[in-house]
Structures are given as C-alpha cells and as structure tokens.
C-alpha cells in the first residue's frame, strides 16, 4: 500500500512537472496543427515541411531570389546528356549527434527514399533514378534513366532533407528520433502538443540565406500546437509565445499592437486559382468557364477579403518558379467583363429564368470561404447561381482527384525550351479558361511575432529561418 502511494505521488509529481517551461532564450513558435512525422519521407504537409527544415539540410538550397545554390553539396555537375548528376560535398560537415556527414549519408537517404518496399511518399518527384553510388567520401553520383530537369531543384526541397545514417537501425526514427545536419537538434515530440528542438552545436550554414553561419543564437526552439487562433493571439499578447500563425481576422489587431510585428511570406510557391470539372457539363463547355472567369472582379474581391496581405496572381505557375511571367500570362488571362459573361451564358441558353447552377468548393481556413462569398455575389450579377461548399482539405483533395486526369510528356533540359513549353501550357490553360489564377500566397503565409524577437526571416517557398533569431 505504501509502495502504491509512493508510486501515485511520483506519478503526480511527474505530471505536475510535465510540459516544457520556456526559458528566456527559447523561441516559442505556435502553429494551428502538428506535424505528421519527423521523417521527411513519410509526410507531405506544410506544417511538417517547415519543421523538417529546422532539423535537416538538403544538398542544395534556394537563395532569396529562389535560385538553386550549393548547400551540403559545394558543387554539382550534370553530365551524360542530363542522365548523370554528381554532387561534391563540403568536408567536415557533422550531424547533430556529432557523427560525420558524408557520401554514405546521402546514399542512405536516397536509397531509403527509392526503396521498393517502403519508398518515400514523394518517390515520383525524385525522378527516374536508376542508381545512387558513392564515388568517394565526399562525392555521390545519381544515374537517371532519362534526363529529368526537376531533379536538381528537387535536391533543395525539404522532401530531400538528408538523414544521417546513424539513424539506420533506429526503430523510433520519425517518431521519437531524428538526426540531420540542420540548425536545430531534435529533443522531444509530445504528439499534438509540442516539439522541442535545441541548438545544434555542430551546425554550420553552407547555403541558407541568413547572415549567421554558426549555430542558432537562441537556445531552443519550442514548436507548440495551438489550434485556436484566439489562444495563439493571447499567448503572443502575454509574451508566452514568441511567434505564431495569427488568425487572419485579427491581422488588423496585430498591426495596431506596438509590441507585435506581422511578417508576410512572399514567393511561397503557392498560388490559389479556380479549376473546373471539365469532363462534364456545364464546364466541359469553354463558354461556361469563360463566363465564370469574366464575371469575377478578382482585384476587388482580394482587396475586400485580404487587403494587402496577398498579391494578384496571373499565371498558373507561382512566382519564383521557372516559367512564371506575369506580363505574358496577363495577355491570356480572361479579364473582368460581366457583359461578355452574360452574352456567353445567353449563347448557352441560360437566362434570368434559367440560371446556370454551379458548386464552388474550397477548404476551411485563411478566409477562402469569405472570398468565395464575394465571388458568389459577383456571379449572381451575371445570372450564375453558385452554391459554396467549404470542407476539410482531405475531402477536397479526394473530390478533385476524382475529376482530374494527370498527364505528363517528355521533358527537356534546355532552359529556353522549358520556358517556352511552360508558356505554351500557360497560354492554353488561360485562353481556354481551364485554369483561372486568383492570388498568391495560399496558406500559412502570415506570422505574428513579438517585437523583441529580432532576426527572424522567411525564406523563399515559405521556409521560416530561425538561425539569426534572438531576443533584444
């Protein structure tokens, strides 16, 4: 009985001590959801990718302009007509656990991703890789069955974060363990609650667009899951949270609060657009798609819903990605023209007594539902009755997948030919109103931080950089 009581008391004490107490030099980052996995080959969500970026480095990086630059690899060469890519690694790189990082770790990561039995969720994005070979300790060669232009930039993606091979026999990798060469070292993950990272003392920055090349300035980075926006805001106001995803409806409060600062990510690679179920009526008819595209006044709707938080997008491909040319796309993007929209609908046999009925779908959050309400009103002006359905992202993706057919064609490594091909596709999609670009960025692009947190930066493709972050 006494032993039972002792255990009970010990249990209570352990529970009371539970939860990480943030210290003065800790950065507490609050987000609305948790990661799916610590393993960069086992998930795809933005929340996961942003966290992996703190733990892992990739062979290559993106600079502030979105250009691919060296990182763990100090150089790379493409040979054999694009079928061989060879990476030369920096000497002296160390993993967060102190073990050396070399070609073995690259081969381990790549082979793990391409494994037949249990491949990475993004295996197809790695390209048609036939073989990954260690040439020497600091050289790795990838042999592809055909040229694949997306391979090199993909080596700068978080999905190709390099995993240290000291994790080879670790059962808990992805759940209770993670070792990379990134600025932060994994400490713990309480699922649904918080992830604790500590400064990686072995870290050296080779390619990230920050000024501090050594370990991060803060002691720890604590990533908390706080689903309710008002609670995150309360945490910011009391100083218990250093940086958070703010509720979009409270952005004005954040801006008017002298102790808070709003960061808006640019060049995120995300864009929001309208796409249609083109295999069935009414949108198998180009006139119906054009009527919708011409009925909505996008700049006015964006101003009403988002103010200056987003930018008008004209291209099917995001800013910062090869082939994006706003001026080119603007020539083919259907413009606001309600009179022509009405005429197109009339030609199709629709009219005041016989309006066209459509369903607009989006997923919850970030004021997307509000934007559709504004579009709904604009569409009603030309005689289109639109029903709005706001659902979770999983349902939306499943519904969209049912409607879509994925096609791919031969690629090319020639820069000009690639840009030309992208332009041809953009021209077709826009002029036939298959794709109606709306705005960029799309999600998780706002950050509210305490004003005394200095040095925080958002890199291209919405990568939060805490290397320089510290308190003043």
């Amino acid at each position: 009985m006494r032993k039972g009581m002792t255990l009970a008391v010990a249990g209570l004490a352990a529970w009371i001590a539970a939860g990480t107490v943030a210290h003065a030099k800790d950065i507490v980052w609050a987000r609305d959801g948790d990661i799916d996995s610590l393993d960069p080959q086992r998930a795809t969500s933005t929340l996961s990718r942003q966290l992996w970026y703190q733990i892992y480095d990739s062979l290559l990086e993106f600079d502030d302009s979105g250009k691919v630059v060296p990182n763990l690899a100090r150089s790379w060469t493409v040979s054999d007509g694009g079928k061989t890519v060879t990476f030369k690694l920096h000497d002296g790189i160390k993993c967060a656990d102190g073990t050396p990082f070399n070609a073995d770790d690259v081969v381990f990561t790549a082979r793990r991703a391409l494994d037949d039995e249990h491949p990475s969720l993004t295996k197809t994005s790695w390209g048609p890789i036939e073989k990954v070979e260690k040439v020497d300790d600091l050289t790795v060669r990838f042999d592809l069955s055909r040229p694949f232009a997306a391979f090199v930039p993909f080596m700068a993606d978080q999905f190709t974060g390099m995993i240290c091979d000291s994790m080879k026999d670790e059962d808990g990798f992805g759940t209770t363990a993670a070792v990379g060469t990134g600025p932060w070292r994994f400490k713990s993950w309480t699922k649904g609650s918080e992830i604790v990272l500590e400064r990686n003392p072995h870290y050296h920055n080779y390619g990230r667009p920050v000024s501090n090349d050594g370990p991060p300035k803060a002691d720890r980075l604590i990533v908390r899951t706080m689903p309710e926006g008002q609670t995150r805001l309360a945490g910011l106001q009391t100083g218990q949270i250093s940086i958070a995803v703010p509720p979009i409806e409270n952005v004005r409060d954040v801006r008017s609060n002298d102790s808070l600062k709003l960061y808006v990510a640019r060049r995120t690679g995300q864009n929001m657009f309208l796409e249609f179920a083109i295999s069935r009526p009414p949108f198998n008819d180009e006139r119906a798609r054009k009527a919708v595209a011409e009925a909505i006044n996008v700049p006015v709707a964006l101003k009403l819903v988002f103010g200056d938080l987003v930018q008008r997008e004209r291209c099917p491909i995001s800013r910062g990605v090869l082939g994006n040319d706003e001026d080119f796309c603007a020539k083919y993007d259907p413009h606001y023209n309600p009179a022509d929209a009405k005429k197109l609908l009339s030609d199709m046999g629709y009219g005041p007594d016989n309006p066209m009925h459509i369903v607009m779908m989006t997923w919850v959050g970030d004021a997307r539902g509000k934007l559709l309400q504004v579009f709904q009103n604009m569409l009603s002006q030309v005689g289109i009755k639109a029903e709005i359905q706001v659902m979770d992202i999983g349902t939306l993706n499943a519904r969209v997948k049912q409607e879509n057919d994925t096609k791919s064609g031969p690629g090319t490594l020639d820069h000009d030919a690639r840009v030309s091909a992208v332009h041809d596709v953009a021209k077709y999609l826009l002029s036939h109103a298959v794709h109606v670009p709306i705005y960029t960025p799309g999600w998780l692009w706002l950050y509210a931080a305490n004003d005394d947190l200095k040095g925080f930066k958002i890199g291209p493709f919405n990568r939060p950089l805490f290397n320089d972050a510290h308190f003043e």
């Binding site: 939860g19 799916d36 996995s37 969720l121 759940t175 699922k191 649904g192 008002q230 309360a234 992202i393």
Partner: protein, 307 residues
Amino acid sequence: MLKYLVKRIAVALFTVWVTTVAVSMLIHVVPGDPVRIMYAQSQGTTPQQLEQIRHRLGLDRPLVVQYGMYVNRLVHGDWGTTIRGEQPVLGLLLGRFPNTLLLAASSLLIAAVIGLTTGFIAAYRRNTWVDTSTMVGAIVGASLPQFWLGLILLFFFVVQLQWFPVAGSGWRNLVLPALTLGLSNAAIIARLTRSSMVDVFSQDFMRTAWSKGLPKALVLFRHALRAGLVPVVTMMGMQFTYMMGGAIVVENVFSWNGVGRLAIQAITQRDYPVIQGFILMFAVIVATVSVVLDLLYAWLDPRVRYG
C-alpha cells in the same frame, strides 16, 4: 449480486465485440476505393504503393478474413499506423488518454461539487429566493456556450491577470479547461439534483424518517440524498463518457492535448486507422463506465441488487 455483476460485464463485452465488427467494416462504408481516398493527399503515391497498402490492410481478402486479421492485430496490440506520418495508433491514443481522463475527472469533480451542493440546497429551500437564484444561475450556466465561456476565462485569467499559462500540460494548464467544462456540467447536475430531491422530500419514507425524530443530517444525507442520487449518477455517467470522447471545443481553446482533438483531426484527414482506434477505445470506455454505473446503482438502490 455476483449474477447481476456477471450479466452486466457480459453485456459490456458484447457491446465491445459488436463495435469491433462495425469498426473493421467501417472502411467499406466509404463510397469508392478506400485506399485511394485515404491517400488522396499523398500526391506522389504510386499505384504499386497503393496495391501494397491494400494488401497490408488485407483489403484484397474476403470480409471474414479481414475481420479475423483485424482482431488478430488488435489482440497483439497492433491497432494499425496512421496514414499521415505512419505513427502507431495505439501509442497515439494512449499518449492522449491520460490527458482526457484527467480533464474529464477534474471537470466532473467540479461539476459534482457545485451541482450537487447547489441543487440540494435549492431543493431544501424550495420556493425561496435561494431556490430561484440558484436555478436562474443554473439556466444561465447551462446556456453559456463552452467556446465563449472558455475564451472569457482565457482572456480574464491568462491575458489580464496572467495567473495561468496559455498552453501546456501541467496542473496550472488544467484549471481553466476543467473549470469551463465543470461549470457547464454543474448547471445540468444542479437542475437534475433539485428536481430529484424535491421528489424525494415528498416521499413517505422521508415523512417516516422525520417522524422518528432522526437527526437532521442523517435524514438529509443518508436517507434523502442517497435516494435522490440515482438519476443524478446516471447523468454524471453520461457526462463523463461524453467528456472521455473528447470535449473538442474546450480542448481546442486551451490547447489541451486530448483524444477529442486527435479524433477530429483524423476525421478531417480521412485517417481511418485512427478513427477506428478512437471508436474502439470509446466503446471500451462506454462499456466500462456502464458497468461502474450499474454497480453504483446497486449500491445506491438495493432493489437493483435483488431485483
């Protein structure tokens, strides 16, 4: 009494068994190919991977075999892995279970102390200003949306007074969510206790007890309260199971890491192994609470024991 207990446990086990059958078939209720829907968000999943997953889940086998495989995995502690992130489901549920249990138990304690006390006093002081004001308070309490009450408490105690942290899992983080849930449920318990006690006070055995000249405390707490508690205990049992299913709104407001949030997240992400695990765990909780309630009835009312 033993026969009564065995019967109740048998019913509980039957309930859990029926749930395992329903849960194992859940995946087939979804229109279309369940594997494709589950992996709709994994853009790079190849057809071969989908086939491997289908085979791993046993979805290419007859339904009876699938059920057998499912039960076999369950008894070996394998409740599957999450679709997003491939985490063990049982570990995820068990990791959150203590938090949910703690929140539910604390809330119920607050609700019971406040609800039983005020309800009993209101019944004892029936038709006085005490009764009226207590019941008005109970109606207000039962009408307040938990989301609103939670945010008000958050802004007052966290932002203004800064007495409690905004998030975490220690005891200081438990106070506000437990209070939010407890106050809402206390209002319901108070109303039910009052009506039950008013009914008990007018019964013949109470007149007998008073006429025998028994001490007031003995009459009120041993004779009256015990008899009046049966419907209240039923309600408290229901409230407890509801809270064990996850008080989603309160968990969200206070970032409390309970099973409710996990379940909602799984539903929105179509993560079927987690949904299956949650339903099964919830069924076990409901069955267990039902058995405990049956035992409590038997203790409170001898007619149940020997009936």
